[in-house]
Homo-oligomer: 310 residues x 2
């Protein structure tokens, strides 16, 4: 069998996120990454749970690949006791899974407004009879309070993450997802939330799809590097028109509007030396044979990202 | 005939943007706003051009309504001489139109990436044969350069606006539109672009649909007030799922996820005493009889906005 990319190999820092080759099992994704000459994989928990944690850990170890991240924990915005307890239990389990898999970085998608976190969740019209004016505090719409709960949950989870040598990696999501998936919308906001905690316990991820538009991005990437919190660099492209489900609207690097040369130089200038993970949710890519997708990732990475990694 | 709302009337600060009642001509929109008891209208240039500028000005004056804004100028990101000249000519014309209509505030949607400003513009794959790596400066994707051109065009237009007593009002658009409609994505960025110019010449608009998600919003609204640049407050709601065309994905105030109580209090605390304009692009609302839409605007404004205007 082939072996993973050596440190000096051209694709040594390229990581296949299992969400990109959705049709592949964990074992198929590991084999495909090795076959493609990649150095790492980013794992989603569903692929891990399918085979069981211990077997997944053995498969990963046998592959010789690094695990650049485990996706994902989070969904921390619940405002009821049961929801908070369930979120903490799930994230504590994710921390143990990351440690067992040898994944240093656990990516957290922190969740949207409490009553609307279901993807495509319904709008929440006020009762037709209500003419009393909007309540001063409307929990279903109070994004400020939802963000405060995220800060509280990170404080709850940080000691557990530190015990297991896992870093909680806060992911700012594109503001198109602010209502239903993540109330963290900018890298600066993620760094502010991380600030109270040690850099080895709470970090941030730069996902080009989510942050490319941010006028403050260069400064915040430099800040993330200076603070030692730049935990992951994920690449995929912003394509138009949006897919019916915006979540599935990403494209291969180079197919959209993102300036990967500039963003990659900013990330490199911030001192990032880790893996470059490709995570694309896109039906057309999911319908493509995995080896072909991996070959496209490698070709686009080599053309648009690698020359600028320094 | 009825007369417009007196200053103390409950709807005196409510403004109907003509884009909300798209099926109405200018005259129908003016009559409908007066019939509904509103104090102002926001005008789109297409409605004005249909009847001609001079007649439009007479109709507006006869209605007794204030013109809370003229929409819109902008699209300033062209990087070729012909495109720049065309943008300057169109915006100079818009400034004259605003002055003639008695509109103090000319809203500018500044445009997206140069080669992709067409709504739903195509993605821009690199030539399949190109294996030379992404160019260091890719004009079609260089959002930093596009923003710099917007600053240059504002400097070109500001003297003309000042001569005519019109204010250029920079509109931050939701980042979902950063590639194809506006490279200004946050209120803070708009205020930074406005900073070199007098507050009476370059201002900003707070449109709840575009900025509600911004973690820095309260601070930037206060800053806009302190700098005397808070030129317009526009309200519509963020509803999910997104419409196929994200531009048409807005809803009536109260039908979505935005906390109007809190945002309106922030705007009032910043010293804003102007009109509250309702601008909604939504096929279902366009298919509704105009008087019914105006009645809904009034009811939602009275319930969710007015109580918090102070």
């Amino acid at each position: 069998m082939t072996t993973p990319a050596a440190p000096e190999a051209p694709l040594a820092r390229l990581s296949l996120n299992t969400a990109t080759t959705k049709a592949w099992t964990l074992e198929e994704a590991l084999d495909g990454a090795v076959r493609g000459g990649l150095g790492a994989v980013g794992l989603w928990r569903d692929r891990v749970h399918e085979v069981g944690l211990d077997k997944a850990a053995r498969l990963v170890e046998a592959s010789g690949l690094r695990v650049s991240s485990l996706c994902r924990g989070g969904f921390l915005t619940a405002d009821d006791d049961a929801g908070i307890a369930a979120a903490l239990a799930d994230n504590r389990a994710a921390i143990v899974e990351a440690a067992t898999l040898g994944a240093r970085e656990l990516v957290l998608v922190v969740g949207g407004l409490p009553a609307s976190s279901a993807p495509g969740g319904p709008a929440l019209p006020y009762p037709a009879g209500d003419t009393t004016g909007a309540p001063d505090a409307d929990p279903a719409r109070d994004v400020v309070a939802a963000r405060a709960r995220v800060a509280d949950r990170i404080a709850d989870l940080a000691p557990h993450a530190a015990e297991h040598g896992v870093r909680l990696v806060l992911e700012p999501l594109h503001p198109v997802f602010a209502a239903d998936r993540a109330v963290i919308s900018t890298l600066g906001q993620a760094l502010d939330l991380a600030a109270p905690f040690p850099a080895e316990t709470v970090g941030v991820v730069v996902d080009t799809y989510h942050v490319w538009w941010d006028p403050d991005l260069q400064r915040q990437i430099a800040r993330a590097g200076a603070e030692g919190r730049l935990a992951s660099y994920q690449v995929s492209d912003w394509t138009l028109p949006l897919a019916a489900d915006a979540l599935l609207s990403r494209g291969h690097v180079g197919d959209g509007h993102i300036d990967f040369a500039t963003l990659t130089r900013w990330v490199a200038a911030a001192g990032y030396t880790g893996d470059v993970e490709v995570e694309i949710f896109h039906q057309g890519i999911w319908d493509t044979p995995g080896d072909q997708t991996v070959a496209t990732l490698a070709e686009r990475y080599t053309r648009h990202v690698l020359p600028h990694l320094g």
